[in-house]
Symmetry: C2
Subunit: 299 residues, 2 copies
């Protein structure tokens, strides 16, 4: 990651959250002309994501694929997900699978097979999505995260654990003071300590990162204290109200210590500027890339 | 649900967690003879689940489909999921989609479309999985649960929110004492209060239920106090160590106030008894059905 960040002078992860009702016109035009609605919509989603990657990907180091947006199109949607992941790789971008999975250990192992590993079957091995990293929900505890970490490590991939999310309701449980006695700490600090403990124990940045909403930047210095080696994945800039200029503390250890994900801000840039979608997306991605690079201490 | 429970004198949810390496021999024999490994494995998974439903479904009121086990086979796996869901419905069983989804509101809405609703596209509407209920992870808070509840209610479906899970590590975060001051409560009690608040406000059982591990039955009386109208979905009996005879408090409000999910205990019953898989599954499901009915107060 550090090499890619330095080479592209970018810490942007392009969010791919395709909404079939808001695809670019060129994607609708490129969709399959016949077939079931799910198949036609999935082909349009592929065309949209491909055009978005081609337009804005040059200003990014990764793409974050939102699994929900593909799953809602059923099997054709999952096929579109695989096709978009392949195109992401071909464009030289890391594939981040954003599904926020979390389950009891035996099931967590199955998610690991789906996202970064593969499944042994009597008919031969079935490869998974081959993501470079994926997001995980820690509510079930360390034993449920362990199979995800094991699967990621075996594949040379990373895990981003939800520590504090970007939605307005995140405070409800994640900010609850926990721990009896004199030193209560919000739940997210307990999770952050777990993220640090799950790390690979090496030097430099860890393979276990943290999802940290850009909407509550006041927590970033404490997050860095608790997770000095974690890569932060920061959603919430733009549509959700987070501002790039508040995020400098995330980059304290290194210019590659955080990735900022932008979805609607880039894909729908043309709706604000009344321009051509691809041109508007490229311009906005380049503007954001430079703004992030400037506050990251990258040289 | 109450009618189905009374009609079948059963509160069992048949867990469908197909592992391609442990399918019944008859399913392997029925698999597609040609095609990619994923397609052949998916056809074997369908045959396995169909045989399991046909053998044990008569002793159950629902089937719980573990999404991870299908997703790991990619697009053919998702198609298998839809086929198995259809067969579940044909067998007169409720379809419980177990994916433990949870995400920021805009993405939660997409999961709602995938699981119980449908997606509007320029090519026509794409139906989702049409589950009768699904599991959800509450870590992101009430605003992130709201779109899932809205989608479920629009479809006449239910939501089971994770309150306390069945894995050994569940205690790590879910049992943390929370709240400053004189009256700390474990995190799961805060979540339980949220489940009660999300309920439909009617009388009788609510459309918002709770996932409550059968491995910590000592919490059941307090759970019932906090969530008097929630249907409890109880995993963890059998392979994970939970015992039917400890679960009576879950049924305090009504014989239909809880469902007990059994996966490996039924599907792999033949490995213990050295018998024919379908016969062993049927016998074990009937034995468990009767044992649960006896402690549930059903008449």
């Amino acid at each position: 990651l550090a090499e890619r960040v330095a080479g592209r002078r970018s810490q942007l992860a392009l969010g791919l959250d395709p909404d079939p009702a808001r695809l670019w016109p060129e994607a609708l035009a490129a969709a399959d002309a016949t077939g079931e609605p799910a198949e036609r919509a999935a082909s349009a989603v592929v065309a949209h994501c491909r055009a978005l990657i081609d337009a804005a990907g040059g200003a990014c180091v990764a793409a974050k694929l939102q699994l929900a947006c593909f799953e809602r199109l059923g099997a054709p949607g999952w096929e579109a997900l695989e096709t978009v992941a392949a195109h992401t790789r071909e464009a030289g971008l890391l594939v981040l699978a954003d599904g926020k999975r979390g389950d009891v250990p035996v099931t967590a192992a199955a998610y690991g097979e789906a996202l970064v590993g593969g499944t042994s079957t009597p008919f031969g091995d079935v490869p998974g999505l081959r993501a470079d990293a994926f997001t995980a929900n820690p509510l079930l505890g360390a034993d449920a995260l362990a199979p995800l970490v094991t699967a990621a490590r075996a594949a040379g991939a990373g895990v981003f654990v939800l520590v504090r999310t970007s939605n307005p309701g995140a405070a409800e449980f994640q900010d609850l003071p926990t721990g009896a006695g004199a030193a209560p700490a919000p739940l997210w600090e307990r999770i952050a300590a777990q993220v640090a403990a799950l790390g690979d124990g090496g030097e430099g940045l860890s393979d276990i990162g943290a999802v940290v909403g850009a909407t509550a930047p006041e927590h970033l210095p404490r997050m860095r204290e608790l997770m000095p080696r974690a890569i932060f994945l920061l959603p919430g800039v733009g549509a959700q109200g987070g501002r790039v200029e508040d995020l400098a503390p995330a980059f304290a250890p290194a210019a590659s210590a955080a990735l900022i994900t932008i979805s609607r801000g880039i894909a729908l840039a043309h709706e604000r500027d009344d321009g051509e979608p691809a041109e508007a997306a490229r311009a906005e991605a380049e503007r954001l890339r430079d703004a992030v690079w400037a506050i990251s201490g990258g040289v």
